[in-house]
Amino acid sequence: MINLPLPLIQILIGLIGILAFVGLNGLVLVYLERKIAGHIQRRPGPFEVGPHGILQPLADAVKLVGKQLITPKGADSVLYWAAPIISFAPAIVCFLPLPFGPKLTNIDINVGLVLILAFTGLNVLALCLAGWSSQNKWSLLGAARDISQSVAYEIPLLLSVLPIMMLSGSLNLYEISTSQGAWPWQWHIIYQPLGFFIFFICILAETNRAPFDLPEAESELTAGFHTEYSGMGFGLFFLAEYSYMIVACAMASILFLGGFNGPIVSGWWWFLFKVYALLIVMIWLRWTYPRVRFDQLLNICWKWLIPLSLINLLVTALFIKL
């Protein structure tokens, strides 16, 4: 028996657990997305595979795995296949410091918030590589859009997180959670409604969800950066997108909605409930709105969100000092 240090074993077990969690959540989210879309459009959504189509995401996954992997002519094959992995791997890391429940934290580090923000930033690189190495003009346009979009929206995202750090005085996600009480009026959202609003818009843009799904705008850029990907190459991007959505919603619920704290009995169920409530809102938004235009997207960020979040930050700082 090799003598492994305890934290490493803990991380390994955690990683396996997270992979299972991500995979399962991906399936659930795909199903949820399609069912909600269907019902909003007054059709049943997936219905044939399994009762009420419950096995449809599984069938899709099997199909994706079974597909041939095609490298387009002229593509940089190393970067081309590295991109989906670079996109997916950081998403897993982001789950490590998340406090799922009062005793359910993988690694309890005191810079958890910074770690997540840093690793989610890596996704830009992956999409950029994917777009550039595909040797496809549409993908390139998608990548170019994604870079400017992500870079722009990182700023208000960070600025809207800062007041929370001031309020709770910590970067540790567990401590931020516990600094809020069980009841909704004890959550940070009461003190930071504007911050939550900005944060939510920013995570929509950061995860490329409609109405900010410009890098993969189907009707404009065919499919943007993942136009050329087939099989699991596409599948990994897909999974990464859903993982980032979960991470983003988990962040929102920890920072603003009290995390695992909830009325009556606190626990991981409250955390999951909040995450899924936010996810459903994201899905609902996607099936309601048209897509914004690129310059409008940047205008919203630079002209509205950044000034507003700065004001929010200043006001919060003032109140704390007083």
Binding site: R42, R43, L285
Partner: protein
């Protein structure tokens, strides 16, 4: 100016909420989709499938068709082929099957001019449904009212051959089946 701009933004944001309300309301409304194999569309009245032959009122095994061929001529896609047997029969006497199927004989119509007349009998009415555009010109052009649209909604097949029908045989088979 500033106030106006903010007011515009707020009404804009409100319009987003209104949009969410519409989709949210629709979410809880009953579905419109008909789950086809389990349930079927209630009314197919007025559906016009491929054409079929109309039988005579007194004899369900004989078609009204008098084999004039006007439907075949008018069809834009040339879907209809008529197989016609020309039967020569005496004009006055009772029905007597004349076995002279050779057309050359019939063409010499000058000789037995008044005693016999040539009758065109439909042997087969071939419809190639693959090319049919369901315009209905054949139904309209039929002088005997011998064609109509069928209501065969659930017609499906695996090869083109399955859409080449002999309508005369089909009509008889249907009558026998009933």
């Amino acid at each position: 100016m500033m106030v106006k701009k903010i007011a515009q933004t707020l009404t804009g944001l409100w319009s987003l909420v209104v949009g969410l309300r519409v989709t949210g309301k629709n979410f809880f409304q009953p579905q419109i989709t008909v789950h086809y194999p389990r349930e079927k569309v209630e009314s197919i009245e007025g559906y016009r499938g491929h054409i079929e032959l109309v039988p005579k009122d007194n004899d369900p095994f004989t078609a009204r068709c008098m084999a004039c061929g006007s439907c075949a001529r008018v069809c834009p896609s040339g879907c209809i082929t008529l197989h016609i047997k020309k039967v020569t029969e005496p004009a006055v006497s009772a029905k007597k099957e004349d076995n002279s199927q050779k057309p050359e004989q019939n063409n010499q119509k000058a000789a037995p001019a008044k005693k016999t007349k040539t009758k065109r009998v439909l042997e087969a009415f071939e419809l190639n449904y693959n090319y049919c555009s369901l315009c209905g010109l054949c139904v309209q052009s039929c002088p005997a009212g011998g064609l109509r649209f069928s209501d065969n909604v659930y017609l499906a097949g695996f090869s083109r051959k399955e859409f080449e029908f002999d309508l005369l045989a089909r009509m008889r088979a249907q009558k026998e089946g009933k």
